[in-house]
């Protein structure tokens, strides 16, 4: 149910992003979803890939600072108000969203949203109790 997300520290220097995607590409690692959070000095690149263990190893070898965080993916109907229903459930259960990012599936009418919570187990419980389906991790890593 939980998905491993890889986070990478990057200074705001030109070409840094390309170096990371280059390392992953050379090692046959496919990026499934990504989000880049940035400040004036540095950024954090968050990635979901098809082989997170391998990605972690090759990035460490190239001396990037990386970490692994558990996140979850939820399918949301690609229609107005689809996200609000989920956020309300979380709010009612006092679960905080640290950050989230979305992408649209290749086929189908749904969007997938990746969530990072302060308390992931609490979030999973609240969502499941309210009939929200959390995507199995294979569904996401093999999108």
């Amino acid at each position: 149910m939980k998905v491993e997300q890889i986070s990478i520290f990057i200074e705001n220097k030109s070409g840094r992003l390309a170096e990371i995607t280059g390392v992953l590409g050379e090692n046959g690692i496919n990026i499934r979803a990504l989000s880049l959070a940035d400040t004036s000095d540095f950024g954090i690149l968050r990635l979901i890939v098809d082989d997170s263990k391998k990605a972690l190893n090759v990035l460490r070898e190239q001396r990037f600072t990386v970490s692994i965080t558990d996140v979850i993916g939820i399918e949301v109907s690609d229609s107005p108000g689809g996200l609000t229903a989920i956020l309300k459930i979380l709010d009612n259960n006092n679960v905080n969203v640290e950050y989230m990012y979305a992408f649209v599936e290749r086929s189908g009418d749904n969007a997938v949203i990746i969530f990072r919570f302060d308390d992931i187990d609490e979030a999973i419980l609240a969502l499941s109790n309210n009939g929200i389906k959390i995507l199995p991790s294979v569904r996401i890593t093999s999108i």
């Binding site: 986070s7 520290f9 200074e11």
Partner: protein, 435 residues
């Protein structure tokens, strides 16, 4: 253990008359042989015969680093070049280096003082000394080398650089004592970890570190990362090179200055007034046995305290506190005095932060700006922006609280701050270029 019991534990009632006798001889010698000193004494209306007690030392004028530069290369030598057997020079990052010459007796004394220092640090003839101070114009390599041989230890003349090879030799030869700069010892530990070598399991037991100021926190870091005792050694090429003073392994509390060869004083760097024992100020040293280039009241620019209480090791020689910084490393940021070592101590007190940092000083209009670059590592990294920003806010606040200066913190990727194999380059000051 003590190398030279007679001199190192000489009661102060006997040590001080010896200092006075040697001071009088030195003053007479420089007045007769060095035009710079004759002019300067004449200008101050003082004659060698006026030095009747150790207190009269205060009447003599100071010698400055600039005086050595002005006398480049041989102007301050007190003997003809035929009697000089070795010449060293300081790194001289700005302009010409300062040049020092040694007679055969100077080399012999230096060797003696380095032998005393090695033994004070717990070294015996059974040790294998891995000497990673640079050999060359810099005094560190050869100074330590001669002293190590005098003790009878086996010395490996590694010099600086080629870190992987250093580690191989350290493993294969079974080095037990490491001599280098404190920052290089941490770099060795870092490279060892990358190479999969457990440096804590090597035979090293003691490191003798000098040539740059380092904090007590850095000592703890070195001691735990390398699993050794880290001993602070003091020296400067103008006075001798390494071995002007050293911590004893028994107390590790202050560095004994070899007072039968040097007279230390602490002065107020603004007024030049001599301060009582225990007060913080600039260290001033007078050499009383040197022949090649004796120096009278040389202003070291090093900031410390002096104390003369007896030490548990039995040595009677005065101790200086570990240096808080060199006055020329001191940055003045918007009127506030900042030593890089103070920023280092702030970083050490924050969990997980590595001691690799660099200070970038610039002038924006009329305003000085200080940027502290700190490396992020896997311990401090987080996937959440707010945690990283919390880290930089904490560093900024701690620096502000300690130093009263506002700075900008820049988190940088690991290993992007250049590792030094000699003296660490902590400060990039871009202000001078503009003026």
């Amino acid at each position: 253990m003590i190398w030279n019991d007679d001199f190192e534990t000489l009661p102060r009632e006997a040590l001080e008359p010896l200092q006075l006798k040697r001071l009088q001889q030195t003053v007479e010698k420089v007045y007769a042989a060095v035009p710079f000193y004759r002019d300067s004494f004449d200008k101050h209306g003082i004659k060698p015969a006026d030095i009747k007690s150790l207190n009269d030392l205060q009447r003599l004028p100071f010698t400055l680093k600039q005086d050595m530069r002005d006398s480049y290369p041989y102007g301050l030598f007190a003997v003809p070049l035929e009697q000089i057997v070795r010449i060293h020079a300081s790194s001289g990052t700005t302009g010409k280096p300062t040049v020092v010459g040694y007679t055969r007796r100077d080399i012999n004394n230096w060797t003696e003082l380095m032998a005393r220092s090695f033994v004070a640090a717990g070294t015996t003839r059974g040790d294998i000394i891995h000497n990673a101070y640079g050999y060359g114009l810099f005094t560190g390599g050869l100074g330590a080398h001669y002293g190590a041989e005098r003790v009878g230890a086996s010395v490996i003349p590694m010099s600086g650089g080629n870190t992987k090879k250093q580690l191989m030799i350290m493993q294969d030869f079974g080095s037990t004592v490491l001599t280098c700069t404190p920052s290089y010892s941490l770099y060795l530990a870092e490279v060892a970890a990358e190479e999969g070598i457990d440096i804590r399991k090597l035979k090293l037991k003691v490191g003798i570190f000098g040539a740059e100021p380092w904090s007590e926190n850095m000592r703890q870091e070195i001691e735990s990362k390398l699993n050794i005792k880290a001993i602070d050694i003091y020296g400067l090429s103008e006075i001798l090179g390494p071995g002007v003073g050293i911590e004893c392994i028994e107390a590790q509390n202050g560095l004994h200055i070899w007072e039968d060869h040097f007279i230390p004083e602490i002065i107020n760097p603004e007024t030049g007034e001599v301060l009582p024992d225990g007060e913080k100020g600039e260290l001033v040293i007078t050499t009383v046995t040197k022949e090649g280039i004796p120096l009278i009241r040389y202003r070291t620019r090093d900031i410390t305290r002096l104390f003369r209480e007896p030490c548990i090791c039995g040595r009677t020689h005065a101790r200086i506190e570990r240096l808080s910084g060199r006055s020329d490393d001191m940055l003045i940021i918007r009127g506030v005095n900042v030593f890089p070592s103070q920023i280092e101590s702030v970083l050490f007190n924050i969990d997980g932060v590595e001691p690799h940092y660099q200070l970038l000083v610039e002038r924006d209009g009329n305003l000085d700006t200080l940027e502290v670059q700190v490396e992020v590592n896997e311990q401090t990294f987080s996937d959440e922006i707010k945690i990283l920003q919390g880290l930089s806010n904490k560093i900024r606040k701690d620096i502000k609280d300690l130093l009263g200066v506002t700075c900008k913190i820049r988190l940088v990727e690991p290993k992007t701050i250049t590792r030094s194999e000699g003296k660490a380059k902590r400060v990039i000051d871009n202000r001078q270029k503009e003026s």
